[in-house]
């Protein structure tokens, strides 16, 4: 045990002290927070007011063009020609001409601008005009505004999972997102850390230090120490990511809201207005999508998901890294690993592909079998867990995963112990099988 600990500690420290680990640890959250900050920045910072002149000969739209953060409307009564001339001298961004007969000839609306008009501006103006014409036409047909508003309903179904306790509101949207993220993280980490194990073993072999080490440590202890050491590196990275991201996110939002309190207050007001309008239209405050997502997330069993995530990360990693390790021991250098990598990477890639289908049908036959079989279960089961999985399936899958990685570790250890002392020889699959049954 002391030896495993010594090996494990070295493997861990060597990797954690590397610059690349530091860079990855800092870069991960920074990228995430940077993205988050960029979104806020764009939302807050791009408010650049454009002036639009409106020449409304029909006189119908005076009330309909409302000034907003982005658009300011000015009305003019002069003739089209003089308006155009004035526009060219002035600094307005666009000139909208609405002829008197716009209701009969809606296509005669013209937008003049010095440069091309942005799609946003165009659609904004068109929307206002369309809506007003529509209202007018409907009113002519005898449909009142009230009837119209009642007819606009917002259908948003609520999924309710019937579990042992009782009804729980769930959201397949939130479950899909969380399941997808977990599956992706496991997929990535199995690849990244599995290949790290493989590289480490090949490095020991090519630098010939392995002979010195295994004169002090049993090959199995060396392999196990390495696998566990790298697993802890992965866990450290995850924990640091979570902590740093949380810290950075709250710091960023604090700074952003401080620096631009004025602007953001405006934005907030805008948003409030929009929300009020939204709610008024829908007539139901609970339909607010933000509240819905928050509610859905809190309805998920977060401790269970986190616990399972750790279990399946470790299980999947142990299962595959043992195999990666065996490949590392069987070859002489990184370039030779290719021929043995395929059978290991295929099930991982397949699981990730299956995950997309399972997300759509988390209780189907494919979902069931792939979440039970150890080679695919680490990724697929994580997709299913947020949707709720019967306890016996979870237990079966976990037990099989444990048996699975014990099996792969056993096979890997047998290949490893022969492979690390085999230099300068291209190994075939046949030989690998022979090594497994070697006395």
């Amino acid at each position: 045990m002391r030896n495993i600990y010594l090996v494990l500690r070295r493997e861990y420290l060597v990797r954690v002290k590397k610059k690349s680990f530091l860079v990855m640890t800092l870069l991960g959250p920074l990228l995430f927070v940077g993205f988050y900050a960029a979104v806020i920045w764009v939302a807050v910072g791009s408010v650049d007011t454009k002036t639009v002149q409106v020449l409304d000969e029909s006189g119908l739209f005076k009330k309909e063009f409302k000034d907003s953060e982005a658009l300011k409307f000015e009305f003019t009564d002069s003739s089209l020609d003089s308006a155009k001339a004035a526009f060219q001298k002035g600094d307005a961004n666009a000139l909208v001409y609405i002829p008197a007969n716009v209701i009969k000839a809606p296509k005669s609306v013209r937008i003049y601008a010095a440069k091309n008009v942005s799609m946003d501006l165009k659609s904004e103006i068109e929307k206002v005009i369309e809506k007003e014409i529509e209202d007018i036409k409907l009113a002519e047909a005898g449909i009142t505004h009230k009837i119209l508003e009642d007819s606009r309903v917002n259908v948003n179904s609520e999924t309710i999972s019937l579990s042992d306790g009782g009804e729980k509101t769930s959201s397949s949207g939130a479950a899909t997102v969380i399941g997808g993220i977990c599956a992706f993280l496991i997929y990535m980490s199995v690849f990244i850390y599995g290949t790290q194990v493989m590289r480490g073993i090949t490095e020991e072999k090519t630098s010939r230090i392995v002979e010195v080490i295994i004169s002090s440590v049993k090959p199995f202890q060396l392999m196990l120490g390495k696998i566990i050491g790298v697993a802890l590196v992965g866990l450290t990275q995850f924990v640091l990511w979570i902590l740093l991201t949380t810290a950075l996110t709250s710091a960023t939002s604090a700074i952003l809201s401080n620096n631009m309190s004025k602007q953001s207050a405006q934005v907030a007001k805008e948003m409030e207005k929009a929300q009020v309008a939204n709610q008024a239209m829908q007539g139901n405050a609970a339909d607010n999508p933000v509240g819905e997502i928050l509610g859905a997330v809190s309805s998920l069993n977060i401790p269970l998901i986190l616990g399972c995530f750790l279990f399946y990360y470790l299980g999947g990693y142990l299962l595959y890294s043992a195999l990666f390790g065996a490949v590392g021991a069987a070859v002489d250098n990184d370039a030779d690993t290719q021929q043995f990598m395929l059978p290991i990477t295929l099930p991982i890639i397949f699981s990730f592909v299956f995950a997309q289908f399972v997300l759509r049908d988390p209780d189907g036959t494919l979902a069931f079998w792939t979440s039970i079989i150890p080679f695919t279960s680490p990724i697929i089961m994580m997709v299913r867990i947020p949707f709720g999985v019967p306890a016996w399936e979870l237990v079966l899958s976990m037990v099989l995963l444990i048996l699975g990685f014990m099996g792969t570790t056993w096979i890997a250890a047998r290949i490893y112990r022969v492979g690390i002392l085999m230099y300068g020889k291209k190994v075939s699959y046949k030989e690998l099988v022979k090594w497994i049954f070697y006395k």
Binding site: N3, L6, V7, R10, V14, E203, E204, S207, R208, I209, V210, E211, V212, I213, I214, S215, S216, V217, K218, L421, Y423, K434, Y438, K439
Partner: protein, 304 residues
């Protein structure tokens, strides 16, 4: 008392036999030369003693007890293919290797300090292995081999990669370790090293032991009863007690002859015989060199 007793060890790989029924005794406190051509099975035997692999049959006693994992910390092994973690600092690496051999961090630290002063390599502590020259790496590896003061030190070609100055330094260390009571096994092709340092030898050829024992005794066995003489004058090819095998003229006009002496006669009798005939400048017995013995023993083994 023997520190290592190899008894009837056989080791087979899928397509060849590495060791076949080999028995060797290695006495405590000696320098033991393990000789043999490439591929003879030396490395296999060393790996078995190091418990890297196990024998198919036969047994090995360490200090009278069958080999077991407790013995690992009492053995220091310098493999022929040297290797260290390239991206690790010298100090950390040595500490790690010493701890794997069972030393505590503190013990290892204390011992390392002594060695760093002895070899005058104090400035290397924080250097990466990849920044050291090959000779420097060899020194580091030598330190790692002997740091835990093992009872048995196994050195596979210990002088390869060293310049003469460092080779001497290492040789002196080896002799000092022997003085302190360690047993040293040399695996080497360099006969001059064997000649100079080894007390006992064993020769393995084609997976079989063909020769072993004290170096002196083996030399005795390989004596051919020939003498050399440098002289002026004339000697007949044949004499009742000797036979001249070959002779040549040296640069200064003297002649040098190799003489085979009749088994029943002594060197004194030969000398008396020669003195009466020629003027002698030098005379001596031809002692076989280790490399002669090596060649002879290897060539005598029938082709398998």
């Amino acid at each position: 008392m023997n520190i290592i007793e190899v008894r009837n060890v056989t080791k087979e790989y899928s397509n060849h036999t590495a060791l076949s029924n080999v028995s060797i005794s290695i006495p405590k406190g000696c320098i033991f030369g393990l000789l043999g051509p490439n591929g003879a099975g030396k490395t296999s035997l060393i790996r078995i003693i190091n418990q890297i692999t196990g024998p198919d049959s036969g047994e090995i006693l360490f200090d009278g007890v069958p080999l077991n994992p407790d013995h690992i910390s009492r053995i220091g092994y310098l493999p022929e293919e040297r290797g260290l973690y390239k991206k690790m600092k010298v100090g950390e690496q040595l500490l790690y290797l010493a701890q794997l051999k069972g030393l505590s961090q503190k013990e290892a630290m204390d011992k390392l300090k002594t060695w760093f002063i002895k070899f005058d390599i104090k400035t290397w502590w924080d250097k990466q292995i990849s920044d050291l020259s090959k000779g420097m790496q060899q020194k580091v590896q030598f330190v790692s081999t002997v740091l835990h003061e093992p009872d048995l030190i196994i050195l596979d070609e210990p002088f390869s990669g060293f310049d003469p100055i460092n080779a001497n330094l290492i040789r002196d260390e080896i002799l000092e370790l022997k003085q302190k009571g360690s047993t040293i096994i040399f695996s080497t092709h360099r006969m001059e090293t064997v000649e100079e340092l080894c007390d006992y030898i064993a020769l393995i050829h084609k997976s079989k032991k063909v020769l072993d024992g004290p170096k002196r005794q083996i030399k005795e066995e390989f004596k051919t009863h020939t003498y050399f003489v440098e002289y002026k004058g004339h000697l007949d090819q044949l004499d009742p007690i000797y036979q001249i095998l070959d002779q040549k003229v040296l640069e200064d006009g003297y002649l040098r002859a190799n003489i085979h002496l009749d088994g029943n006669s002594t060197a004194n009798a030969l000398l008396l015989n020669l003195v009466s005939k020629v003027e002698i400048r030098a005379f001596g017995e031809n002692i076989p060199s280790m490399s002669d013995i090596f060649m002879k023993a290897v060539n005598e083994v029938p082709e398998a």
